[in-house]
Assembly symmetry: C2
Homo-oligomer: 128 residues x 2
DNA sequence: CCTTGACCTTCCAGTCATTGGAACCCTTAC
DNA sequence: GTAAGGGTTCCAATGACTGGAAGGTCAAGG
């Protein structure tokens, strides 16, 4: 299977697939004409990575998860540890963004947004 | 004022301040010895940028906000538009992260996390 | 047989907002 | 004189792609 088919089947752009090969995430075979030749397993792994990325896992997490996925004697505790750590990071980021949102929405509400220059948003950022 | 004092007064690392000068966000004077010489206004602008960055504004947004801040005939509507757009982006990102969190926390809950290989997390990422 | 268009290849550069390090200069105190 | 603790510049790396250039390959149509 050529890269375009693999891209359509996995939902990843060809550029991204080439990048994943470059960093050693996948190792597709090559045809005689030097084209990449993707097996069903390659496509499956690409879709695996795509789903992990959609959950926000880093590339290095994906590498570790893929290795665990291929290790039939893995311990599910190892997978869970990676997922739990990532979940903690997501929750921390949500808290941080919620704080920004609260501050910012209060400022936006307070700003009249007209032709005049007085603005609580700028006032807040200039230190009141 | 040397860069270290400006860093302490603004809460930004010296490296970051040099970077902000490099991209034209600030334009501190230079002493005879080629050291940067920060005025009170420079430090004030740095603190302004630091607060805007803490609210998640991009550097380009900071540039625009700083320009509006210095323009005494600005319209607060222009400030509000930038802030509202950024607020929308934050809210979109929170929704996206909350979705990741929901999916991921369900998977983490479902995973026993023991020495055995069966794992709903990997199962989900491999396409069930 | 030739051309056209849609593929494919590699490599280089850019994104965003820093951060680290190297190599070197300046100032102050002892 | 020298050591500590500033300062300077420039280059390279981060993460995860993405765009573009220059060129090779392949199937179909004239």
């Amino acid at each position: 299977m050529n890269i375009k088919q693999a891209a359509e089947a996995s939902g990843l752009p060809p550029k991204t697939i080439r990048y994943y090969e470059q960093i050693g995430l996948i190792k597709p075979a090559r045809s005689a004409n030097s084209y990449r030749d993707f097996s069903e397993t390659d496509v499956h792994n690409l879709a695996f990575i795509a789903r992990a990325r959609a959950l926000g896992f880093s590339i290095e997490d994906c590498r570790a998860l893929l290795a665990l996925y291929e290790d039939k004697s893995r311990a599910s505790a190892d997978v869970k540890a990676i997922a739990q750590r990532h979940l903690d990071e997501i929750e921390a980021k949500i808290l941080q963004l919620a704080e920004m949102r609260d501050t910012l929405s209060a400022l936006v509400l307070a700003c009249r947004g007209n032709h005049r220059p007085d603005c609580p948003i700028l006032a807040s950022m200039s230190g009141d």
